[in-house]
Symmetry: C2
Subunit: 91 residues, 2 copies
């Protein structure tokens, strides 16, 4: 897996990520990864559902991986945060 087909979901509007997914698929990329951490996870799920319901009805959710990442904050404390990786194909 290269990083080219990975979209990191953060604090932007959900439609930005929908557009990013559509752009990747239109460039002929077969598999798009949506990655999100913490509260952004629900935004990644929204993105998937909007792409499927409004744009690509054949969209397949090939895989969903849940993991825990450790982040070190500026004061040296380690925080654990859940992360999600959704693999999408055009089906």
């Amino acid at each position: 897996m290269t990083e080219e087909n990975t979209i990191y979901v953060g604090k932007k509007d959900v439609m930005s990520y929908v557009l990013a997914v559509m752009t990747q698929f239109n460039q002929g990329i077969a598999e798009v990864h949506l990655k999100a951490r913490g509260r952004s996870i629900s935004c990644a799920v929204d993105t998937t559902q909007i792409v499927k319901n409004r744009f690509i009805s054949t969209l397949q959710i090939k895989d969903i991986k849940l993991t825990t990442e450790e982040l070190t904050s500026d004061d040296g404390r380690t925080n654990r945060v859940s992360s999600m990786d959704i693999t999408l194909t055009k089906g």
Copy 2:
């Protein structure tokens, strides 16, 4: 699938849901479903990761389903909201 083994994740503290999952497994239930909508989705993912990392290291995520639900609000408007169903087994 009966509703007995389903935990609906909402606005409570994440540890409430961790406890609910542990209780179900300790009652001998083989498969626990965690259901969440909208922003609660990330809380369901956190619950899964805490159970796995702190309590049941053999926990398996058997399946994750993403769907869109239509909710009708009091003023008659229909809102679409993403929902997630995580199926957990003790492995």
